[in-house]
Amino acid sequence: MNPADDPVRPGPATAIELVVDGRAVPGLAGQTVAGVLLGAGRRTWRSSRSGRPRGVFCGIGVCHDCLVAVNGVDDVRACQRRAADGDVITTTDEPR
């Protein structure tokens, strides 16, 4: 949520940038890859076997719905992987 309205009163955070399917997406240091993607308004980034869109479902590493490629390595759970500045994320789905 917008830090100015956030009741937890966030302190300063460090901006990072991921490259998602060739496009720069901003995030904050300490976020997961899924957190950055959802924060940027992206809900899905993968398709199931029969082409149904998938993104975050369980949020805790159990369901494997959220897989992405990070720096060329496939099948990384986006909800478990901390994003690092400059990480190159490749999804298998059109943004929606």
């Binding site: 937890v8 904050l28 809900r43 390595v73």
Partner: protein, 456 residues
């Protein structure tokens, strides 16, 4: 190199933190590890150190207690992927340490004198038409994203399912800027009242939990969020993402009745929890019929030298996890302690347990296995066509439960549905039996074997 701590604690949630602290107090040399980047588990999932916040405590209960427990040394980002059983000593535990699902993680191997498993639980979500649409989340996902990312899963959100956990989820969503349209509990008021008000003295030990829940109820009132019993989400609709949900009145056995449709862009669902028991199963620990790890009052499992604490031993909330962890940690370190009786888990099940009528909201094309896209109709057709009553063979022929999550999400549901279609499975069994507890890359495994051969 094989490390040999007195006590190895797997999981740094409330139970594991309490176990490690107690074992240290008893003088043991302890290694505490967790797959996550930080301590806290699911209950105290919090903002990363890089994102300090002055009032983070408003998202939490027992924050002071956590502040005391989290000072301990923790081996973070450590995924246990294999537990090797031995006949004459506690199991050997293999962990990979580094960024989640990475390729070149550091291998650590532990042969502890005592092992404490505190791996917690994950949610059980029953399928309904449209539950794989983007915008349907587990309630835990909404909670994790709110607490650790400050991301709200939607603007207009419905929270539905069964159990007291729906309340903190609604509270966090509101504090993350979402509008919560309602909290829908599937069970009816009479059942809730009967289970929670009988023999109140038994619940004395859980009074902290009662205070916490009362706080959430005040939150609902303050934010004018309706709480409805005997109600559930039975379908989600939308073109590529959730745009509306169908909400139905549910009978006492959860059979769906009168429906209405409401516009929403997200729905968070939780029908209960499943113990994360795979490491315990790999260690050879006996399970109770409900799938939780069997322990005695000192936290011992059926395997000598292996202890279990927290929600892998039964679903009872964070206070109970802390108490169990403290007992198991003390005893694992060679001290003496035992836990008192608490009626909380039994009440939870009596009040909020899943009832069989839920299959009334399934349609033939409702997805059951999200990984392999297997529908409820596929399962029934396979049972009818083959006449088989074997869970294993029916799973193989439909591929249900054999995808990337290894049946963690749909396992129990597949088993229940097939049990009905076949008139009783011949080989029912919990689906927690997974030889490798986490997906590991073949390259990492190969490297692991080379290491072992070098050492041999």
């Amino acid at each position: 190199m094989i490390e040999t701590p007195d006590v190895l604690v797997v999981g740094a949630g409330p139970a594991g933190l309490a176990a490690a602290a107690a074992a240290r107090r008893a003088g043991a040399q302890v290694v505490l590890l967790d797959a996550a980047a930080d301590a806290g588990g699911q209950y105290w999932r919090h903002l990363p150190a890089e994102r300090p916040a002055a009032r983070e405590r408003i998202l939490h209960h027992g924050w002071d207690r956590f502040a005391r427990l989290r000072g301990q040394e923790l081996l973070a980002d450590a995924q246990v992927w294999l537990v090797e059983r031995h006949d004459d000593r506690p199991p050997t535990v293999h962990a990979l340490v580094g960024p989640a699902d990475g390729t070149a993680r550091e291998k650590r191997v532990f042969a502890p004198r005592a092992l404490v498993l505190a791996t917690g639980a994950y949610e059980r979500t029953l399928p309904f038409p449209g539950w794989d649409l983007p915008g349907v989340f587990t309630a835990g996902a909404a909670q994790a994203l709110a607490k650790a990312e400050r991301v709200a899963v939607g603007r207009r959100v419905v929270v539905a399912g069964a159990g007291p956990f729906l309340l903190p989820v609604a509270a966090s969503l509101v504090r993350t800027g979402a509008r919560v349209l309602g909290v829908l509990e599937a069970n009816p008021w009479p059942r809730l009242a009967r289970a929670w008000t009988a023999r109140p003295a038994e619940l004395f030990a859980s009074r902290g939990k009662a205070g916490e829940l009362a706080g959430y109820v005040r939150d609902l009132i303050r934010h004018r969020i309706p709480y409805r019993a005997a109600t559930g989400v039975v379908a989600a609709h939308g073109d590529g993402r959730v745009e509306a949900v169908t909400v139905a009145r549910l009978g006492p056995d959860w059979a769906p009745g009168t429906e209405r449709r409401i516009a929403a862009d997200a729905v968070c669902v939780s029908h209960g929890f499943v113990p994360r028991a795979e490491l315990a199963v790999a260690a050879g620990c006996r399970l109770d019929p409900d799938g939780s790890v069997h322990t005695d009052a000192e936290g011992r499992t059926s395997v000598p030298g292996v202890f279990a604490a927290g929600e892998i031993t039964g679903i009872g909330g964070a206070d109970l996890a802390l108490a169990e962890g403290s007992v198991a940690g003390t005893v694992a370190a060679g001290g003496a302690d035992r836990r008192g009786f608490t009626g909380f888990p039994a009440r939870l099940e009596a009040a909020h347990g899943i009832r069989p009528g839920w299959t009334g909201w399934l349609t033939d094309d409702t997805l059951v296995c999200r990984c392999e896209d297997v529908t409820a109709g596929d399962l029934r057709a396979a049972a009818e066509a083959t006449g088989s009553r074997g869970l294993r063979s029916l799973k193989l022929s439909t591929r249900a439960g054999l995808g990337a999550c290894q049946g963690r999400v749909c396992g129990r549901t597949v088993e229940e549905l097939l049990n009905r279609h076949t008139g009783g499975l011949l080989d029912p069994g919990r689906t927690a039996n997974r030889p490798v507890a986490a997906l590991v890359r073949l390259g990492e495994l190969a490297a692991h074997h080379e290491d072992h051969e070098e050492n041999a």
